[in-house]
Each structure stands twice: as structure tokens, then as C-alpha cells.
Symmetry: C2
Subunit: 329 residues, 2 copies
């Protein structure tokens, strides 16, 4: 019997394991045009938190007591659709489950790039695209700019650091703890801030960027955003994609440096990577080339087994992952 | 003896009268190249609060115990500079004083537009320019957009309302109290919100803009900014020029809707009108034409006498003015 995780209650604040339930699901019969896929890798991503609310957002809220949708990579085990053969590896959004039978149009065959298939959930997938278009388009990065990125050891942040270095920027990455900071340094960051170490984030950022920053790539919001506002040079660009710190917070704290948006003429631009889906080909070609050349390194944190999926998701909010968090089935 | 107001202490929070002192000043002898001007109108503007801090900003901090600089309109009473004759009306930045002797280069003769001279401190001056470039450039306004502006009865807001209506936008203005709301309605706003009346700002804005807003022109920050974030349509543009509510606040409150920057892909752009000084001619021509056609109405709140200047300035933060606050000498 196939199984899937459902959302059984809309979390208030930080989600808990009891908000999810692993249930048996009946797969529909394999009719013409359908494909049967066994999942190999499931993605857990911070943005999923937003979909757990019943609120206006870019994606529909999750339906209660229905299988949780989300990114996954699987292998075709049966096919009654042209273009899909047994053994094909596919990317899809059917989410937290071990098997799925669905219309061929909801699966995309992985491009033939010489990389492990789970990269299509990481640096060649949504997090990598977020970094790529966030740095190059949203933040209008150019050689010589000083870029500050929070959660620099994470799935998005680790790509931001490396893409920015390839493009000739000076990069300051923030991460929590000595181990993650070592990862960020290894990725090529010019300066690393351990935000869990003693001292204020403002002081650490001022020491790392004495002349200020041109770009802030925000994955966290909160104190990091406030420090970045304080350190922004005139005409700085803020690429806003995350604010994960405030996802679970009903009453986020005030930003002391909010007025600097005006005084430093900051451009703060929110973005959703799905808006760049039409440029997926360009992204795959460029990122695939950098990976083949060894210029982009990928780190992963793995959890094993479908039953570990909600726990892996919750770890995103306690900093449990370095690089892309994945569930291997 | 000429007199000028000086800043005697850097205010913490809301400034108070005791932070200012009216002192006698000696005017320098009228040497070659100098002009002697008697002031007619002094401007008090919210941005002056920022310059009272000893902090990084777009303008130099005010020096303690020196005459307060700022916009003023005066009349030439003596001249030893070519191009300036007795009786000429001039705009300058020598600020809160009755007379000044200074280099000709620090005075600009008023353009020959058929308007009262004090307009060059209001709708034909810095507040009008802020509205003009804020709406048309920073917010990329286009016909059909729904625009929300806070402090809509103020010097900047009253110009925002009228420029947006000329350009074919739907305009929602917020102001405090029935009297100011009547002013905003008179200026042509499609809907007016009295933020001092009972009920939440969120509810009032939702009622006025059931489909959301495309543009928010921020003069206040705080609760207005938060409500605008909540009501923003996808790809909304926020022109950030004010946040006057938070000028005096050391610990501004958190914004509940900050995450909507990401989810609605909001572009929040800070701007300083001095950056548009090179387009002053274009602004004077267009705004002057609209005024001559009777399409831009100007309201003013007057205080009389040099001694009233700091009190007039403080009234900006308690909502004492409708339209442009001026001191008439």
C-alpha cells in the first residue's frame, strides 16, 4: 500500500509533528496517459511553512487531510504515456509520499546533465534557481559589489556564495556555529560571521564590511535584515526571498534601521522563484556548466525514510541542515 | 541685529522647544560677490528631524549651536553680485533666520511662474517634487493603478493625491480627523480613510480597496506601512520617502505583514528627492502648467514670526498642519 503525509491541522507558530499524519493512499488504476512513479528523494523547503496557513500567498494553501505536495525526484516504474519509459528519472510536485500515479504532464524528465539526480531538488532545482536569479536579476549584482547573505550554509545561501564569487563579488556569509561557518568559508566566502557567537550582529557585519554592503540576500529576516539595513550603502539592493526566522512568528520584532530604506535609497525587492520558470533552460545550462567545471559545490543533509519527512522539515527551522535538506527513500 | 535659531542639543525621541535657541547673529560685511537677503518665508520639514541626529544619513547632521539650515524664500535687500538686484525673490537653504548675507551661488532666483512665492517651498518645491518623482518614477504609476497614500492632507500627500488623479489612478488617501479627510476628498481622492476614527486600519483599507493596492506612497511608516503590506497586490510598488511616525521612535514596532514583501513580490524603494535635483526644470514646467490650469490646489498652514519656527516644526509630528506648514516673517 502506498503512503503519504497529510497536514491534519494548520500550525500556529512553529509546526509540530502532531500537525502531520502518515496515511495509506490508494493509487488509481494506470489508465492511458498516466505514469506510475516511485519516489527516490523528497524535498523539504522553508516555503512550505507559508502554504500551511490559510492565507493569501503565491501558492494555494495546503488542503487539510490531503497528501502534502512538494518537490520530489522519482523513477518511472510503469508508464502508459508516450515519452515516459520504465527507469526514467523524473522531477515532480506530488510531494511527501512513496509512490504516485498521475498524468504524464505533471512529470518532467530530468535533463541529461552529469550530476546526481537529487541535485534537481537542490542547486539545479528551486533553491539553486532562487540563488541564481536572486543574485543576478533581483539584486543586479556586478563585479566589485559587496554582498551579504544570511543562512549562507543553507540550500539557497550556499549557491548564493558561490555564484557571487564566480561573478567577482566580495562575499560575507552568516551562519550559525563553527561547523557551518567552516562550510561557508570552504565555499569561498571572503568573510564569515557566526551569528551564534558572542557579540552583536551589527558589530560583526561592520567589521566584515567596514565600507558597507551593496547587496543583501535575505533568507532570514529579523536581526539579520536589521543589521543589513544598518550597513547598507547608498542605493543598496535587497533580494528578499526568505525571512525564515519570521515564518512562525505572529508578532515579528521591529526593525530599528527601517528608516535607512529612505535615507540610503534602498531597493527592497521580494521575489518568488516560480516567476522565473520560463528561464529554467538558461539556468540549467549555466548552472550545469559551473557544476561540470567544479565551480559549484553542493552539500546535503540527508534523512532516511518516508517516516522522517516532517521531522526533516522541522529541522529547517532549528538550523539542523547544512546545504540542502533531503529525505532519501 | 539679525537672529537665527540654533540646535542646542541632539533630541532623543520627540524634539522639544528647549532643544532650540534663538540667538543674535552678526552678518558679515557685504563684500564683492555677496548678496543680502531678508527672509519672507521659512520652511519646516519632517526630514529635518533626521539631521538632528548625529548619524549616517543623506544630509550632514546639523551642527550644534550653529544656525539651523533649511529651505527659505526671501527678498534681496542689497547686492554686490551680478544677476541679483534689490527686490529679487530668491530660494535658498540658509534656514531659520530673518536675514542672511552669503555668496550669490547659494541663492536661486525664483522662476517666473505666476504663483505665490511661498509655493516654491511647497508644491513647486521639495514636497511637490517628492510627490511628483515619487509617484511617476519611483512607484512607476500608470493609469488604472490603485494608489494608497498616508498623510494625504500633508505637504507631500496633497500633491500625491492630485498628481495621481491627473494621471488616471484610483486614489485612497489616509488622514487624521474629519477636517483633514474633507481636505483630501476635496483634492479629488476616490476614497478617504480617517485613521483616527474607530476600527482597524486594515479593515478600512480593505473596504476602500477590496481588490488591493498597486502602489503605496509612504509618508508615515508604522501601522500604515503594515496595512499597505497586507493589502498589496502582486508586484506592488512602495515609494518610501517618509516614515515620519518612526522618526522619533528608538524602538519601532514590528510589521506583522513584512513577509508579504516576498509573497507579493513587492518592490520597496527608498528615495531622497535631492537625487532628482537635475530634473528641477522639467518639474517646474509640468507642475507650473498644472497649477496654472487649476489642476493642482495648494493648502497651507501658516505660523507667524521667527519666534514660532521650532513650535511649527514640532507640530509636524502631532499632525498640526494641513498642507504645507510655513512660517511667515
Amino acid at each position: 500500500m502506498a503512503q503519504a503525509w497529510t497536514l491534519t491541522a494548520r500550525p500556529v507558530g512553529l509546526p509540530k509533528l502532531a500537525d502531520f499524519s502518515l496515511v495509506d493512499i490508494a493509487l488509481p488504476p494506470l489508465e492511458d496517459g498516466l505514469v506510475h512513479v516511485r519516489n527516490l528523494w523528497l524535498s523539504v523547503d522553508p516555503y512550505m511553512r507559508g502554504r500551511m496557513n490559510d492565507a493569501k500567498s503565491y501558492a494555494q494553501p495546503y488542503m487539510l487531510n490531503q497528501p502534502m505536495v512538494g518537490g520530489a525526484v522519482g523513477e518511472v516504474v510503469e508508464s502508459r504515456a508516450t515519452g515516459f519509459a520504465v527507469g526514467d528519472l523524473v522531477l515532480h510536485s506530488w510531494g511527501w509520499r512513496d509512490e504516485v500515479v498521475a498524468a504524464a504532464g505533471s512529470f518532467a524528465k530530468l535533463p541529461s546533465l552529469d550530476v546526481p539526480e537529487q541535485r534537481f531538488l537542490g542547486h539545479l532545482g528551486m533553491p539553486g534557481m532562487t540563488a541564481y536569479f536572486g543574485v543576478l536579476e533581483v539584486a543586479s549584482a556586478k563585479a566589485g559589489d559587496v554582498l551579504f547573505v544570511s543562512a549562507a550554509a543553507g540550500a539557497v545561501g550556499s549557491a548564493v556564495v558561490q555564484i557571487a564569487k564566480i561573478k567577482g563579488l566580495t562575499v560575507i556569509g552568516s551562519a550559525g556555529g563553527a561547523q557551518k561557518c567552516a562550510v561557508v568559508r570552504e565555499l569561498g566566502a571572503d568573510a564569515v560571521i557566526d551569528y551564534q557567537a558572542e557579540g552583536s550582529l551589527d558589530d560583526k557585519l561592520a567589521a566584515a564590511a567596514p565600507d558597507g554592503i551593496d547587496i543583501y540576500f535575505d533568507n532570514l529576516g529579523g536581526a539579520h535584515l536589521d543589521a543589513a539595513l544598518g550597513a547598507a550603502k547608498d542605493n543598496a539592493r535587497f533580494a528578499m526571498c526568505g525571512m525564515i526566522e519570521t515564518y512562525n512568528d505572529q508578532n515579528p520584532p521591529g526593525l530599528r534601521n527601517m528608516m535607512r530604506i529612505v535615507r540610503a535609497r534602498i531597493r527592497m525587492q521580494g521575489f518568488i522563484i516560480f516567476d522565473y520558470n520560463h528561464r529554467l533552460g538558461e539556468f540549467h545550462a549555466q548552472m550545469g556548466r559551473w557544476m561540470a567545471e567544479g565551480r559549484i559545490q553542493s552539500t546535503e543533509t540527508l534523512r532516511h525514510g518516508l517516516d522522517q519527512t516532517p521531522a526533516a522539515f522541522l529541522e529547517l527551522f532549528s538550523g539542523g541542515n547544512s546545504g540542502k535538506m533531503l529525505v532519501k527513500l
